[in-house]
């Protein structure tokens, strides 16, 4: 423990009871007001983690499958995968590359560069026959939320837009960051030395993903808790957005 101070610690607080988010809603205001109502108003330096789903709803990134005409490719792929060809069509439109297609699973690289199942297109927590796409520019969405919160509440917060992605080799989804405002996504120990004097090589931590993951356990899928406050964590300010989290395909052994 450092003398004169306590151990490092931080808190994660769900923002519970947000009303249903409609296209064009003032999501920042809903978050600010709901956090205040539960006696945990946002304060300067808080990290706000917001579910991709409510951002997509606010931005009207919703597609009704009834309005989608699948292309011949989507029809063939849907038949092969045992999936609704209209959904496959939407996924293909959101993708720039197919990474794997097997066992009913479609893993693609989105236009942003994220590799995930179904290009992030999601049917849960949606009206029947509607699907939600990822925000078009999640970093821009995060910055807009931060700016609007500054205007409304007079506080500077960090923002992460998060989604739950699967990963190879391990079961279960984890929350990861797909959009950032204000914080550095990576923390690097490159060039530093450990207590034995040995250079720490290639120790780069994805703190934005770790804090997105930290927020998930209080963000109920069923309880309308699409946002959480991470309070007291040590963060590095940066405007670089989420792009440093994307691995250069040339250095990726798995696509």
């Amino acid at each position: 423990m450092r003398p004169g101070s306590g151990p490092p610690r931080y808190e994660v607080i769900g923002i519970a009871g947000l009303p249903e988010v409609r296209p064009g809603a003032d999501l920042a205001r809903l978050i600010v007001e709901t956090a205040a109502r539960q006696s945990t108003p946002l304060i300067g330096g808080d990290l706000l983690v917001v579910s991709q789903k409510v951002v997509s709803k606010m931005e009207d990134r919703i597609v009704r499958l009834a309005d989608v005409t699948p292309s011949p490719v989507a029809l063939a792929m849907g038949a092969g995968l045992g999936r609704d060809p209209r959904l496959v069509e939407v996924i293909l439109r959101e993708s720039r590359r197919i990474v794997r297609m097997d066992q009913g699973i479609l893993i693609t690289e989105t236009h942003h560069g994220w590799v995930c199942a179904n290009a992030g297109v999601d049917q849960s927590n949606m009206d029947v026959d509607s699907v939600a796409l990822l925000p078009e520019d999640p970093d821009g969405s995060a910055r807009a939320l931060r700016d609007r919160i500054r205007t409304l509440a007079g506080v500077d917060v960090f923002v992460i837009i998060a989604d739950t992605f699967g990963r190879p080799w391990r079961e279960g989804l984890t929350n990861v960051a797909i959009g950032l405002a204000g914080l550095a996504p990576l923390r690097s120990y490159l060039g530093e030395r450990d207590p034995a004097g040995r250079p720490l090589q290639a120790t780069i931590l994805a703190v934005a993903d770790e804090l997105a993951a930290a927020a998930e356990p209080v963000m109920g899928k069923l309880d309308r808790i699409p946002a959480a406050i991470v309070r007291g964590a040590s963060l590095t300010s940066s405007e670089e957005g989420s792009k440093p989290l994307l691995r250069d395909p040339a250095r990726d052994l798995f696509r």
Copy 2:
């Protein structure tokens, strides 16, 4: 917010100032005493996240490279990868399968079934020319820590042994669970329905990995903070250990 209660929340507290852990050390006692000394004694229901490194040191899972004679295979692979053939030899001994070998990177499946770089063999935070192997049975290590803490402090805690692993497609390491005692590693929404009445399909969250990740930001690589308390998170009791986090290779599109 649920009436009569606050929002869901939990806290993450680093256990700072642990002395250097030697083979045979009573790690549980060091943790209990250090936590008490910083005025955050362990209490029942806490989740204790412990770095693999100190568990490996306690269990003497240390190999001096000077004592290792590389096999011809390790010599050839080391030359191809530009890596110390003695280190390659140790990695191969800890592996049951090579998943990828390219660009100086060796990704293998360990005898436990984890897929990670270098079979988890780690040179950082070690004496020069020594490397640390993963614990032989991380679930057993977690149970032993839990049992010893119950004896010493009279409290029942959950335990995760965590290590920082890389992952495909995304830059940066994140902390993940490799050993568990007391908690269920996965939380499933299978068969439940979202507020629109639509069945939530395939929504299984890897809460153990998310909480391991949550602990990392307070576990300094350089500050001798190899353990953290996660206090107040909603956990499901289970004795199934970490195995449910391993994806069945037959259902894995990336090995």
